[in-house]
Structures are given as C-alpha cells and as structure tokens.
C-alpha cells in the first residue's frame, strides 16, 4: 500500500504561527517505518505523510479518513499496538508504535495483557471535579483553585486548551476578557495560570466515562482507572462538528472545518491544496481566511441562505482576497477515489430546493463542513439531568439555574456543552460556575460580588449584541430561576446525589 512517504504536507512558514516540532519519532504504519515529530497525534502524522485512508467501513469497505480531529467522531479509528478502535487523532505518536489501517469490524483482541491496567485509584478528597480542559473548564478550574479548593481537572486530549489552541485569529471582546489576543495565546495564558496552582491535579488523556450513584465519577486512561468522589462537578465537554448528508460525504477529504483547523494550526499540516468550504458562519469564514494564510486555495464558500451567516468583518476579510461566498448554494455531491477529487455545487431557490440545471463542478481535494456544532452533553444525559432540545443552541442541553447549576444538585455546566456560543462566553460561564461554587462552599463576599457582576455583564451587556440574539434566546429557554429548579427537581428527582 505504501512503500515510502508520498509527500510532506507540513507547513514550514506561517505568518502567525511558529511550529515548535519535537524530536523525530519513528513508528510503523502497516509494517513500514515512518517518521513523525514528537507532539503530533498519530492521525496528524499520517496525514502529513500524505495518507488519507485510516480505516475501511464495516459493511461496504468504503475508505474512511479524518473528520473532526478532536476525538469526537470516530472516523480515524485505527489499530494501535494491536488494540482496535483507537482514536488516532488524540493519540500522540511514540517510538515503535505499530499502527494499522482498520479493515471492517474490529475484533476484540484475545490477549488480555493488552488491556491490563493498574489498580483503580480512589480519590475522595476532591472539592471540585472539572470535566474538560477547554476555555470553560480552564476558567472554572482557575477560579475554584484560586480560592484554595481542592481541584481535579480531566481532559481527553494530551494538551490543555480545547479548541482555543487552533484559533489563530484575534478575539473580539474587551481587554479584561482576553479580547485582542489570538485564541492560542488565550489557551497559553489560561493553561499557564492553571498549572501554577499546587491544589489542582490535572489528568490528561483521561476520559470521564460516567457519573454514578452517590456522585462517584469514573475516569479512565490507558493505564489506570480512577473513582472520584467530588463535592461539586463542572462539566465543560464542549461540542462536536455537524455532518451533512450528500453523496460521497464519507470520502476522505470531507472534513469538519474545525478538523482542518486542527491540522493546519495545531500541527502545521496542510489539510489540502484546494478547498471548498460549506457554510458561511463565523467558523466557515474564519477557517477560510486561515486556509489562505496557510497557503491553501479556497475555491469558494457555499451558503444555503441568501445571506452570509457570519459577522460582516470576518466575511470582508476573505472577500478582499477574492474568495467568493456563494449564497443560495449548496453541495450536491462529492466524488473521488480514496480522496475527494471534486464536488458538484448547485443553486437553491428560496425554499432551499436545488434549481435543476444550475449544477457546476468544482475541482478540489478538500470539502470542509462548517455547518454548525452540537453540544457534547452525553454525561448530563447519562447522569439523568433534565435536558431540553433547543435548536438555537445546537441540540440537547441541560436545564440550569442562572449560575449554571443543573437539575443534579452541585453539578454545573459551562461553555459549548451548555449550548453553542463562542469562547469568550465559555470563559465567562466557566468563571460564573466556579464562583458560584466558591460562594456556596466558602461564603466568600468577593467571589459573590464578582459572580454577580459577571452575570450582569454577560446577560445585560455582552449578550445584548444584536448578533448574539439567537444564542441569547436559546440560553433564556434553558435558564430557570432557583425556585423553579427546586420544583423541577421535585417533579423529576435526580438519580444521583453528590451530597450523600
């Protein structure tokens, strides 16, 4: 299948970023020795070598490539050191790893040794467990740690920062809220702050797999299981990119726009040479601009609505360099053999129906979907929190009090898992949740003032922007008063109690 590296898709010069690559690492891909750099994920390293197909689908053997690149979608499942279904996008490369394309349904290896773990560690002196190390989780953790609470933060990825690490544009907002800094700089600042606390335990590459009776939380990483009994939990698990139905949507090269952003901005690897972006919301236009910065040609941005979804200033940035935004257009199909080779686009009428005869072919090697995000709320659902379907927020989200406590007492939500907004509101929500815990636990006056001030700012200033009305309406729909929450809890008692 592969005798030597086909290419090097790595970016060596970038206007914004300096890629600090680690030492060279050698591992095996389908038995052939290949090279990567320390700090890269397996999927990123393979992609850099020009490899597009990571697995074959179970029934039809169709090729599967990378899609989300952040451990959410399972499109990059491969066999690593004999273990199948490894999410190679969040698994770092190491010397000597044996990585294989997974062909069809994986068999569970009979060698039990492969799964041997150390004894389960019990951690029961935790004040606050934070699940998720993105902007919301980091802000919450810093807040509670600052007041001396014993904190554990779990993060699925091997790096902190969540999706901030791939944001190269400068953030809007105000100086106090990291406005003006580039996203990855915000991640650096928050991470630096967090690791400075001695009362915070950070567990990387660790997943919270469930919340159980009496509030025990199960954590797992490759070598170890943990059982944690926290007094409070903040769940800040983020979101995943949405898929779109069209013929050829599973071809390698069809990728989340955020997935492409991870490749090019986090790892410095070109997602392709010619891209077609679907969706003109902020993600679509921002990623298009960043593709251009990385040296990728953006053929067009498609938008099914008759107007641009994102903010004007972001759209203006790509228009100035000649990237067309085709409104009232959508994808009809994508074609190619083991990799996208082109797409057919089509105009739509005012009812979003394709107009026959308006089809046009676009030659491209990447089709990047920027059609929205879905909150990752599986833990809330598993734990039995009262949830509500809110289209403005991207799907199913937990009901919460003004200070972000869910129907499960002492379990909080913050960031995109509370409903899709953006990083600045995620940071504010994380801090509000953290402050509320501090107020309850320590009855701290300063924390109470700060919480109330931030809350006031969030709802009565920041979210008053006409551009944020949709998400503001969504958040209003799931925010209930403390009294209302007490009633709801009586009506739908939570199966879990952290107090017992």
């Amino acid at each position: 299948m592969l005798s030597k590296p086909i290419s090097d898709r790595r970016i060596w010069e970038h206007p914004i970023l300096t890629f600090k690559r680690g030492r060279k690492v050698k591992f095996y891909f389908n038995g052939i020795e290949v090279e990567a750099y320390e700090g890269e994920s397996i999927a990123a390293a393979l992609y850099a070598l020009g490899i597009n197909v990571f697995s074959r689908s179970i029934k039809l053997g169709r090729p599967r490539g990378a899609f989300c690149m952040i451990g959410k979608c399972s499109s990059c499942f491969m066999k690593v050191n004999g273990i199948p279904n490894v999410r190679t996008c969040i698994e770092p490369v190491k010397d000597g790893l044996r990585v294989e394309v997974q062909d069809g349904l994986a068999e569970i290896p009979s060698d039990r040794e492969l799964f041997a773990t150390e004894d389960e560690e019990i951690i029961d002196d935790v004040d606050v467990l934070i699940i998720g190390g993105g902007p919301a989780g980091l802000a919450a953790a810093i807040t509670v740690a600052k007041y001396g609470l014993n904190t554990v933060l779990v993060n699925e990825h091997f790096k902190l920062g969540g999706q901030l690490v791939k944001q190269t544009h400068k953030f809007f907002g105000s100086k106090e809220l990291f406005g003006g800094l580039r996203g990855f700089q915000v991640a650096e600042e928050l991470s630096r702050k967090l690791v400075s606390f001695s009362n915070v335990k950070i567990l990387l590459q660790t997943v919270a797999y469930g919340i159980f009776r009496y509030g025990w939380v199960g954590l797992a990483n490759k070598n170890k299981l943990y059982r944690v009994k926290p007094r409070y939990i903040v769940i800040a698990t983020g979101a995943s990119e949405r898929y779109l139905a069209f013929p050829g949507n599973d071809l390698p090269g069809v990728m989340g726009a955020g997935g492409a952003q991870t490749l090019m901005n986090e790892y410095g690897i070109l997602p392709g040479e010619k891209a077609l972006v679907v969706g003109s919301g902020n993600v679509g236009v921002i990623v298009s601009y960043q593709l251009l910065q990385a040296g990728v040609k953006v053929e067009a941005i498609l938008e099914i609505l008759p107007h641009i979804g994102g903010w004007f200033v972001h759209a203006a940035k790509v228009r100035r360099y000649g990237i067309p935004i085709l409104t009232s257009h959508t994808l009809k199909a994508v074609w190619g053999h083991d990799r996208v080779e082109g797409a057919t686009i089509v105009k739509v009428d005012e009812k979003f129906k394709p107009i026959p005869g308006s089809e046009r072919d676009v030659e491209c090697d990447s089709v990047l979907l920027a059609i929205g995000l879905t909150p990752d709320t599986r833990l809330f659902a598993q734990a039995g929190a009262i949830m509500k379907w809110v289209p403005e927020l991207g799907g199913l989200v937990p009901i919460r009090t003004p200070y972000l406590e869910t129907s499960i007492e002492k379990v909080y939500v913050a960031g995109d898992s509370s409903g899709i907004e953006e990083a600045t509101t995620a940071i504010i929500e994380g801090e509000i949740a953290g402050l509320d815990i501090v107020v309850r636990e320590l009855n701290n006056v300063e924390a109470r003032e700060r919480r109330d001030k931030l809350y006031e700012f969030l709802w009565n200033e920041y979210r008053q922007s006409p551009l944020l009305q949709r998400s503001r309406m969504g958040k209003l729909k799931v925010t209930v008063s403390y009294e209302e929450m007490i009633k709801l809890r009586k009506k739908f008692p939570s199966p879990i109690s952290l107090s017992s």
Binding site: G180, I308, W311, H314, A315
Partner: protein
Amino acid sequence: MSDIPNFRRSGIITVDELKKLGLVPPEERLAKGPVAIAECPEEIPCNICVDACPLKAIHMNSINDIPRIDWGKCIGCGICVSKCPGLAIFVVDMSKPNKAYVTLPHEFLPVPRVGDEVMLLSRSGEDLGRGKVVRVWEHNRTWVVTVEVPKNLAMEVRAIWVRR
C-alpha cells in the same frame, strides 16, 4: 429578509453604505491628513479599539456600539489598525497632491518590505494595479502596511498581495 443590509449578502460594504452609517470622515478632514476609518458596521461585542487608541479618539457607550472615531482627535497613527480583531480599520491619507496613502492590516507571507511593488486589492478582491509600500510595522503578527495608491483609489484599496 429585506431588512438584511446588502453587505451581509455580499461581504462587501460600499463607500455609500459606510457614509450612511457615518463611518467616513468628511472631505475636508480627509484632505487634511491621515485619519482612521473603521469599516465596522455591525454591533459586535467588542471594544478593543477604544482601549487601543492612545489619543482616546474612539468612543462607544456600550461594548456593542459601533466605533465612533473623533476625527478631530485622530492623527491616523494606525495603532487601531494593528489591534482591531476584525482587521476592519484602515488609515487613509489624502493630503498629498498626486498620491494617496492607505494603511491596512496584513497577515500573509511574504512580509512586504518598504519599496516593494505590491498588488492592490479592492474590497471584492479585484486587482486595482500596483502600489509601492512606504511603511511596514508589526504588532502581534499583524503587519501594518502603508501603500501609495492613485488618489482616486484611496477609498477602494483595502488589501495588498505580495507575490513570492
């Protein structure tokens, strides 16, 4: 749908639209010397430019206001150009008899150097000819580039492209 402004359909704002929003300085001011123009027509929750201006010439009542520049105070120093997260602020100098100067944000490689002849681009990416780079400086990887342009293009040139 009719209340959606045209710039939200195209991603391009016209000088007339900017004028209607009160974002373009009067002719007399433009003729006097360099002045900042914020092409920022939407109420984004952002006030970075207000803090950035060393002359306190940019005003907002709330974080969601569009920036109002006091063109009497503004000296066209370009610091806001380097700091605006939306890359939406430009400085235009129409005080010289034959040429105009546009200062714009640039975030692409290669970095332009003083003296380079670069491609001038309009708000729609249209090639408007060549112009000479007269000044370049940088803040947090945004290069602030001043280019010499024909006088009639001062309100049209909004980007440059440097060939490798």
